[in-house]
Amino acid sequence: MNTPMIGLVDCNNFYASCERVFDPRLEGRPVGVMSNNDGCVIARSNELKALGVEMGTPAFQLQPLVREGRIHLLSSNYELYGDMSARVREVLEEYSAGVEPYSIDEMFVRFDGFDRNSMLTLSRTLHRNVRKFTGIPVCVGVAPTRTLAKLANRAAKKRPEFGGVCVLEPDEVGTQRLLADTPLGDVWGVGRRLVERLALQGLHTAWDLRCADPRAIGQRYSVVLERTARELQGTPCFEMNDADDARQRIMTSRSFGRMTGDLNELRDAIRQHAQRSAEKLRHQGSLTRAVLVFLKSNRHRPDLPQYSPSTIVELPAPTNDSREILAAAQQALEHIYLRGYRFMKAGVMLLDLIDQPREQLSLLDDEADIARRERSQQLMATLDAMNQKMGRGTVRLGVARPDAAWQLRCAHRSARYTTNWQELKRLR
């Protein structure tokens, strides 16, 4: 039986690449993208990584390098990144009806019905066309399961000899070598603590786990790890939302029972998804910097007008407060909603997560900020406790009116080249 293959398309240094499309002087230079209000590095080009600049480095520490012209620091331009992400998705949709955004810069592409032998050619076409059409460089990893596709993608990215494309057949010699070279910590969904426990049993690499008896793994560890083992063997076990790489992004989405174009129903769905995402966020002790909302019309109904918009709202500061996340999500929804379209699916994605620091260290905070944050934390803890005790949805938030426009500090933001008529690229 010819199992369909699945691809993972991952944009290289996505935020920096978006900036480079419109500013070729950044090509080959160390580029960092900063969060707007709290002023630290949230994305880096390879050249900046090579200089040893870590994620989260406060921007002021880098000012000497900026002044000497050795590095470029830009404020984040989520309008641009959101639009470029939608373009990448659109190019992929020319080839497959099964494109599932996994984060702003990663998309799974299902190749149901494609000949398995044509995968390498097809992957190379995707790799070339996304780059050519959008300007964004990507790596493509293809395999029969999502876990293997992730590993294929990683290989495509790390090893120049692959040219950005890697197709893994589970039973090939090359696959064995690749799995043997992959530490378990780099396998999708295998966390740090699990790695330590597995090491005690002599399991160190992806190949070790692949050779283990999945049922024994399931009994000793977890059902999820059993599925990971089966996925490494080439048997698909994970669906889109199963294994969350929750350290990077959180997504909550659901298809509607029937298609709807009603704004109130959409508001309600977005409210639920935003609230659920915020719960997940607090559960893992993270904060988010930006909220993405998307709607999807039904691609299998070409008789209906198609419109699958998405947009990103940046938060004034990293947060895990349901109310702020909800307000941002509603604001995003109001912005992309158009009457006359019926939607099949709606979702909320939280982006650019960071671990919640024990103590907030911000020069901008005054006592009022600190008090407000403490109140927020207490309220959210109470909310989560009640919902846990009495069932999800016991306490729900109403739809907040979005606050007055947030004043973000974004002095070094590039132009919104693709979303604002006043800011188009100017050419001589």
Partner: protein, 153 residues
Amino acid sequence: MTVSAAQPSHASLARPHPAPEPCALPHPHITGRAGISGFPSPAEDYAGRTLDLNERLIKRPAATFFMTVAGDSMEGFGIYEGDTLVVDRSIDARPGHIVVALVEGEVVVKRYELIGQRPYLSSGNALYPPVAIFDLECQVWGVVRSVIHEYAV
């Protein structure tokens, strides 16, 4: 052109792409024919509903970008300061195309030409001579499909 107004209060929001604006005006229905050869006008494909300039000008939305012209270097080709270029990255540039190109770190709009078998980027203005690109670092960014010139009215 339908140009949606910028929304300052939503400064952190991206416009959905593409954004079809609902338009309820009753447009006169024209079924024209291109020339006398009997080729059907492409507009006929859309007979029965309001004509949409996006459909006409943008063949591949994911690869299409708008840019603004600055300066007078392309006036000879009917491209003026302030015009909006519709740039399609999915097209392979051929001689005769108006292209957006990267030349030594600058982004420029020029006409791609062969002069005596050698590739040049030409301006539409005698003040700027053609630039030979065979020994320059040069890359085509995209091909200009159309130019929108808006009059003050």
